[in-house]
């Protein structure tokens, strides 16, 4: 057998073992319901709570059920301060029992950006689904937009964080 195969096999075994160990945990995860509406967000990667095959799908209602926050800030994409309402990303991670350092955010147009999970708690970033009280259509950077409170910290008004502020978010991959 080649080393790669050995490697894959080893890892698969480890993964199986892990899943076996995690199975009760996974099996116990009944807090994560199945989405009823259109899935607008999929969280995969190192997640503890799933409602699919290693993935956690969310629809709008599920997201709205989680703890939400509001951020009113100016942005480079809109004129003047805008009020965003969305789920606190820190809570979202917790709800899926994310076990990783980083989240790779993928947008609908396959734009990808890595975001450290630490940001969510540190800055209170949200995954916004409402702008100025209105849901965002895809044509208006919806349905989900990662928003930092840019005005709260001058550091946030930089490209570093702008690049993390992905709109048209489709998938969060925890790793």
């Amino acid at each position: 057998m080649s080393t790669t195969q050995k490697f894959i096999r080893g890892w698969t075994a480890a993964l199986a073992a892990l899943m076996l160990l995690a199975a009760p945990v996974l099996a116990q995860d009944a807090t994560l319901p199945n989405p009823e509406g259109d899935v607008i967000l999929t969280i995969d990667g190192k997640v503890g709570a799933t409602n699919g095959e290693g993935v956690a799908d969310f629809d709008l209602a599920m997201l709205e059920n989680l703890k939400s926050g509001k951020i009113t800030t100016t942005t480079p994409w809109f004129n003047g301060p805008v009020e965003f309402e969305g789920v606190l990303l820190a809570d979202l991670m917790e709800s899926v029992k994310a076990d990783g350092q980083e989240v790779v955010v993928t947008a609908l147009n396959d734009y990808q950006a890595p975001v450290p999970i630490a940001d969510f708690a540190q800055y209170g970033a949200i995954l916004a689904y409402k702008r100025d009280g209105n849901y965002m259509p895809v044509s208006d950077k919806g349905p989900l937009f990662i928003i930092y409170p840019y005005d709260s910290d001058v550091e946030l008004s930089t490209q570093k964080f702008y690049s993390r502020s992905v709109w048209q978010v489709r998938r969060l991959t925890v790793r």
Partner: protein, 805 residues
């Protein structure tokens, strides 16, 4: 000195420059720092600008989304369809979103700037909008196809947009870079400037440090200087202290000296204000120390003197005027000030340099008095307080002048006390002085106020009478004077008698005072010669007499007694026995030039000059020699002058002569004149006793003419009393005279004394005195004095007569 001063100022300027430069540096640094921070901030902003929304990425994303849309469209058209309507719709939505982004925010800025891109975006947006009209029906192949066609040119446009945006971005980036570079340059320059400033700063600091070191060195030197100076100062302070102490001591000494001066002192400044005064001023003028405070003005000083009662206002004004004149004229002088209490103050005014003056005040009252006293004493006789010769002379001249002006007479009298010397010798000088004082008092009491009484010394007095009408007044005065002086004196319990001889001259003027005095003196001389106790007016020929007297004096002194003198003898007859008992020896002088000089003339001279002593001795000797050639029963009587008693031990002389001549003493009779007895002299008493003891007999001659009191007869045991011729002169006519003679005779008889009457010239006189009981007689009736060689003849003659009768 100037070099270092320049150095110092140079250094000072340098340090100031340094300070300014440093300040500028600091300011520059601060400003730079500020600016740099601002720049940094700006840089930061710029940087952040660079990292802001990436337009190129957005454009490329848009390109990607367009392609995915077209791909989905194409996939939908393919059989079997590769994509769903939802996929296409989704892609379309994403595209719409992208279009929105293209038309807002930063992208819009870019789009606006670059016209080509604007056009592209507009075109794209219109296409998208158009597609939006049928997007719901996009599953219809014709719509999909249309969409594909519409979007086909967009690809190229999107690429162009992307590249434009890229270029834009690059340009912006380049611009930003340039900006950054600029900032960097500025920053670098500033940093460099900062560094330079730093260096300069350091250099300045070093220089400053050097300066400071040099300053420090200088300071050190200065410090040393200061220390030295301090030491010097301490020394000078000590010296100053010493000097000050000295000054204090000196001041003290000065003060002591000032206040112990015997004179008062006042020093005034040019403004007539008092600067210095001493305590003596207070005592002189009765001022208090408050009144003599410095600053007192000169007029105020005089006022306070007046207020203190030292002198009255008039005197103050007089002094003020005099002293003010001196002050004005800047002269020194002395002023005499009379104080009300009789004191005299000598003010010595001395101007000082600078306008002030110093005046000393000396109480010269005593000196004045002393001077006055001296002046007085120079003019007065100390004993009697009468004017002396000097003053008398002045007064005399004055009186002469005044009297002659009024055509009146002036009389000058020279008064001489008779036998003053005798009194002085017997009673002593104190008694003599007392006598003189009393005489002076009596004379003064007798003369008028305006007359001058002076004592010329010894027992000589002068009286000057002026304003006389004639000489009668003078004569009256003279008589009165003689009488007054004649009065007895009580001196030390003794009764003293003296008389005065007065020579007087009167003049109506035109004569010199000295001449008058001399004439009065001559007249006095005459008075004395004339027997004393008398006055004589000057007669012109008195001078001659004086001259003669002077000559005789000289002659007498020089005379060879044997050659020029001889004796004559007058017999004394015993009236009972009618026998010659004694011869009185009388001295005669035959001068080779002057001829016979009367004993009345030369005897007084001899007595005065003392020539009487050798003369007397010579007489005694001659008498003794003569006795040898005479019968044993005959005695010779020699006159003894009082002078002989005074000037010589007469007893010893007599004894010696008797022994030398081998003469029995009883043959010698000694006649003492009555005036001798005026001297109440123990010595005289003793001498007479001794003479009698020798064996000689003593006769009292000229009895009754003098002042002899009867007690003398008892006290001094005489053998004979010779009654003066005066008493028998008019005995025939005057009962009084007769009575007197009788009394004397009886008295003498009672006392056991022989009486001899002198000057018997007439028979009648003889008869009377014989009847009275006189023992002996002498006179011209019997014989005048005869020379010795005629004695024998006379005796024989007398004997013949006697026996014949």
């Amino acid at each position: 000195m100037s070099a270092s001063a320049a150095e110092t100022s140079g250094r000072r300027t340098a340090s100031r420059v340094v300070q300014t430069v440093l300040t500028i540096c600091i300011v520059a640094l601060a400003v730079s720092a500020l600016y740099i921070s601002v720049l940094a901030f700006k840089r930061q902003e710029a940087l952040s600008q660079i990292f802001r929304y990436n337009i190129a990425f957005s454009a490329s994303q848009g390109m990607n989304e367009l392609l995915r849309f077209r791909q989905r469209l194409a996939g939908m058209l393919v059989d079997p369809p590769q994509a769903t309507k939802q996929d296409v719709s989704l892609r379309y939505q994403i595209l719409v979103s992208r279009m929105d982004l293209f038309q807002s925010g930063e992208f819009l800025g870019f789009v606006t700037e670059v016209p080509d891109s604007r056009e592209a975006v507009e075109e794209m947006a219109s296409v998208v909008r158009r597609i939006g009209t049928f997007i719901d029906d996009i599953d219809k192949p014709e719509n999909a196809q249309l969409a594909l066609e519409l979007t086909e040119p967009l690809e190229r446009k999107m690429i162009a947009l992307a590249s434009q945006s890229n270029e834009y971005g690059a340009t912006a980036q380049a611009r930003d870079q340039r900006e950054l570079l600029r900032l960097h340059w500025i920053f670098s320059i500033l940093a460099l400037g900062l560094v330079l400033s730093g260096f300069i700063f350091v250099a300045m600091l070093r220089w400053q440090h050097r300066l400071q070191i040099s300053v420090q060195r200088r300071l050190k030197a200065t410090n040393e200087d200061l220390l030295r100076t301090r030491a010097e100062l301490a020394e000078s302070a000590a010296a100053a202290r010493r000097a000050n102490e000295e000054l204090i001591t000196q001041n003290l000494l000065f003060n002591t000296a000032l206040n112990n001066m015997s004179h008062g002192l006042c020093m005034f400044d040019a403004h007539q204000k008092l600067i210095v005064s001493n305590q003596k001023m207070e005592s002189i003028y009765g001022l208090s120390s408050d009144q003599l405070k410095p600053g007192l003005s000169f007029p105020d000083l005089l006022d306070s003197m007046v207020a203190a009662g030292a002198h009255d206002r008039d005197e103050a004004e007089r002094i003020s005027a005099l002293q003010s004149a001196l002050i004005r004229q800047n002269r020194s002088n002395t002023l005499i000030q009379e104080l009300d209490d009789g004191r005299t103050i000598l003010i010595s005014h001395q101007p000082m340099k600078g306008g002030g003056w110093v005046a000393t005040y000396e109480d010269i009252t005593e000196r004045h008095k002393a001077q006055a006293q001296v002046a007085y004493m120079a003019r007065h006789d100390t004993l009697t307080d009468l004017p002396n010769r000097l003053m008398m002379r002045e007064r005399l001249e004055e009186i002469l002048r005044l009297s002659s002006e009024r055509a009146l007479s002036t009389a000058v009298m020279c008064i001489d006390l008779d036998n003053f010397k005798g009194i002085n010798d017997t009673l002593g000088h104190p008694a003599g002085d007392a006598l003189l004082r009393e005489v002076a008092r009596r004379i003064k009491a007798t003369v008028r106020e305006t007359d001058v009484v002076a004592r010329l010394g010894g027992d000589e007095f002068v009286v000057v009478q002026g304003n006389l009408d004639g000489s009668d007044q003078a004569v009256n005065l003279v008589k009165r004077l003689i009488a007054v002086i004649d009065e007895p004196y009580l001196i030390d319990g003794h009764q003293v008698l003296t008389g005065a001889s007065i020579g007087i001259v009167a003049t109506t003027g035109g004569e010199e005072a000295d001449d008058l005095l001399m004439q009065a003196d001559v007249a006095l001389y005459q008075a004395k010669a004339d027997g004393r106790g008398v006055y004589r007016f000057y007669e012109p020929d008195m001078n001659k007499r004086l001259q003669r007297r002077r000559t005789l004096e000289t002659e007498l002194r020089a005379a060879n007694l044997d050659e020029q003198f001889y004796l004559v003898f007058q017999p004394i007859i015993d009236l009972d026995a009618n026998k010659v008992t004694t011869f009185e020896a009388l001295l005669r002088w035959r001068h080779p030039v002057h001829g016979e000089v009367s004993p009345d003339e030369f005897i007084p001279i001899a007595e005065d000059t003392g020539a009487i002593v050798p003369l007397g001795e010579w007489v005694l000797r001659q008498v003794c020699l003569e006795l040898k050639s005479l019968p044993e029963s005959i005695c010779i009587a020699a006159n003894l002058s009082p002078m002989q008693f005074k000037r010589d031990d007469i007893v010893e002389t007599v004894a010696r002569v008797l022994v030398e001549t081998d003469t029995p003493a009883h043959r010698l009779e000694l006649e003492i004149t009555e005036t001798l007895l005026l001297e109440d002299n123990r010595k005289l008493h003793v001498d007479l006793k001794r003479l009698r003891k020798l064996g000689s007999r003593i006769s009292l001659d000229d009895f009754g003419t003098g002042y002899s009191s009867l007690s003398y007869l008892q006290r001094f045991a005489f053998d004979k009393v010779k009654i003066d011729r005066l008493f028998i002169k008019d005995i025939a006519k005057s009962a009084d005279q007769a009575a007197i003679v009788q009394t004397i005779v009886n008295l003498a008889f009672t006392l056991g004394m022989t009486t001899v009457v002198e000057g018997v010239e007439t028979e009648e006189q003889l008869r009377i005195i014989r009847a009275m009981g006189c023992d002996e007689a002498q006179g011209h009736l019997f014989s005048k004095p005869i020379p010795s060689d005629a004695i024998v003849g006379y005796l024989a003659e007398h004997e013949r007569k006697r026996t014949a009768a």
